[in-house]
């Protein structure tokens, strides 16, 4: 049997020792040794859907941009930054001159800066891009980042940081957590209600232990993070989003703010706005696979023996109990209900285009009762 080989020469997360003490299997990811699982991916996935999972996402890049960077940042992405209110998160995309996606990220306006969270695997390229645009980026590698996700997350976190339950989805504020300053947003990558918690690296173990002390919180690894985000229909950078894919193709037109649709002025605006107007030639779709066999990234969508599309994320959806996937297909094959065939090692599996998310989201949005 082919067992994946571990690599070496990885950076260690601030919680490395805790992960190992909790029985994590560590794998290389984004240059770090990271926990892929503790008890097992399915158990961790279901625990997060039913209780609360604690994720260490300290590999992600936390960046601070000085006030006054709004216009320079808007020149790199299609979001409305100047109109972003304090304490509000905006999902956006760094684009290249062809409109290709260089990274997806969160931007939050704070009182003293713009706070960005970017993907770990490309954070150094992002920093170089931002600095090349004349932005004085402060890379906060002295901070750690935790995510607490699931229906119990608000109750658990509020016990340590009173007031967090008043935050709404995509809102953030400063809190005190175990006597230490923490920047907390109501956001995540699982489709569940939950929070992302930025604290000093040297106090993150105390925070993690305090959260794990609640009987409803268990540590969750990268494996379940991937299956959770797949069920939630959320794309993964480097797989579902790459420099050869633009925001319209990716189904992320919502990340192109209204004012920017009118004004343009972001990289690749000509191509992106043309696709927005006329529709892109290919689209990211969700696929429900017949039977039980998963399809994986790289598998081809075939029509009359010819590859017409490609799976970019695929696996087993534990809460759905069946295989699901994301793929890029021609617009003519992108309508919900379209039947497709996928080549898996020479066998053709049948699949249906379905709306995403595959599993309903549980966000606590603005307007929800407090």
């Amino acid at each position: 049997m082919s067992v994946p080989e571990p690599a070496d020469a990885e950076l260690l997360l601030p919680l490395d020792a805790l992960h190992r003490a909790l029985g994590a299997r560590m794998v290389p990811f984004a240059g770090y040794a990271m926990p892929i699982q503790y008890d097992g991916i399915i158990a961790e996935h279901q625990w997060t859907r039913e209780h609360a999972g604690l994720f260490d996402v300290s590999h992600m890049g936390q960046l601070e941009l000085p006030l006054g960077s709004d216009l320079a940042l808007e020149a790199l992405l299609p979001g409305d930054i100047t109109g972003l209110r304090e304490g509000v998160l905006r999902y956006s995309l760094l684009l290249d001159a062809s409109g290709g996606i260089l990274d997806d990220l969160m931007v939050t306006r704070r009182a003293d800066d713009l706070y960005l969270v970017v993907n770990g695997a490309v954070k150094h390229a992002d920093i170089a891009l931002l600095r090349g645009a004349g932005i004085d980026v402060r890379y906060r590698d002295d901070l750690a980042l935790l995510a607490l996700q699931g229906p119990a997350a608000a109750r658990v976190l509020a016990a340590h940081a009173p007031g967090v339950a008043d935050l709404r989805f995509m809102r953030a504020a400063a809190f005190t957590l175990l006597g230490q300053p923490a920047w907390i947003s109501r956001s995540g990558y699982t489709g569940e209600d939950g929070f992302e918690i930025s604290v000093a690296a040297d106090s993150v173990e105390a925070v993690a232990r305090a959260l794990l002390a609640d009987a409803e919180v268990r540590p969750v690894g990268l494996g379940a993070r991937d299956s959770l985000r797949l069920e939630a229909g959320l794309p993964l950078y480097g797989h579902d989003l790459t420099p050869t894919i633009n925001p319209v193709e990716a189904g992320l037109s919502f990340a192109i703010s209204k004012r920017r649709k009118v004004e343009g002025g972001f990289p690749g605006a000509g191509i992106v706005l043309r696709d927005l107007l006329h529709g892109s030639a290919r689209r990211r779709v969700g696929l429900r696979i017949d039977g039980r066999q998963p399809v994986r990234e790289g598998a081809h969508i075939v029509e009359n023996g010819v590859a017409v599309g490609e799976v970019t994320s695929g696996g087993f959806g534990p809460a759905l109990g069946r295989p699901i996937a994301m793929a890029y297909v021609p617009a003519a094959l992108a309508a919900d209900g379209t039947r497709l065939q996928i080549d898996v090692r020479g066998r053709l599996l049948d699949a249906t285009v379905v709306p995403m998310p595959f599993f309903p989201k549980s966000y606590v949005r603005e307007g929800a009762p407090r």
């Binding site: 067992v3 998963p294 090692r345």
Partner: protein, 123 residues
């Protein structure tokens, strides 16, 4: 009946020229939750060391190689309904396929249980 092991973490039980192949408990632990197993059809001739089956965990697909050459006589239908048998019973009910040995001398190159456990201890 004698059980042999490979350094690719398959086991093979041999009784005369009849053999049953599965993956080891160590292997299932490395795979994580198994959600699908693709098995070879009965009658297929398999060559030692070549891909014989595919085991899919939540995360990834892994090839399973046959430890010995032979012709498939049975595939474990229970794995279709319950792929997690590979996790819960790797050494027993989670077997993959049975075959008739075409060259019993191939067994000479395989490990016994003690040698395999010593090998796993080095990983």
């Amino acid at each position: 009946m004698t059980r042999y092991f490979t350094n690719e973490h398959e086991w093979v039980d041999v009784d005369g020229t009849a053999a049953t192949v599965g993956v080891t408990d160590y292997a299932q632990g490395q795979l994580g939750d198994v959600v699908f197993v693709e098995l070879p059809p009965v009658g297929k001739a398999l060559a030692k060391g070549k891909e014989a089956a595919v085991v899919e965990s939540v995360k990834a697909a892994s090839d399973v190689y046959t430890p010995v050459s032979g012709t498939v006589t049975a595939a474990n239908a229970a794995l279709e309904a319950e792929p997690a048998l590979v996790n819960t019973a790797a050494d027993t009910g989670g077997w993959f396929f049975k075959l008739t040995l075409s060259d019993p001398t191939e067994l000479d190159g395989l490990m016994d249980e003690a040698a395999y456990q010593a090998f796993v201890a080095t990983l």
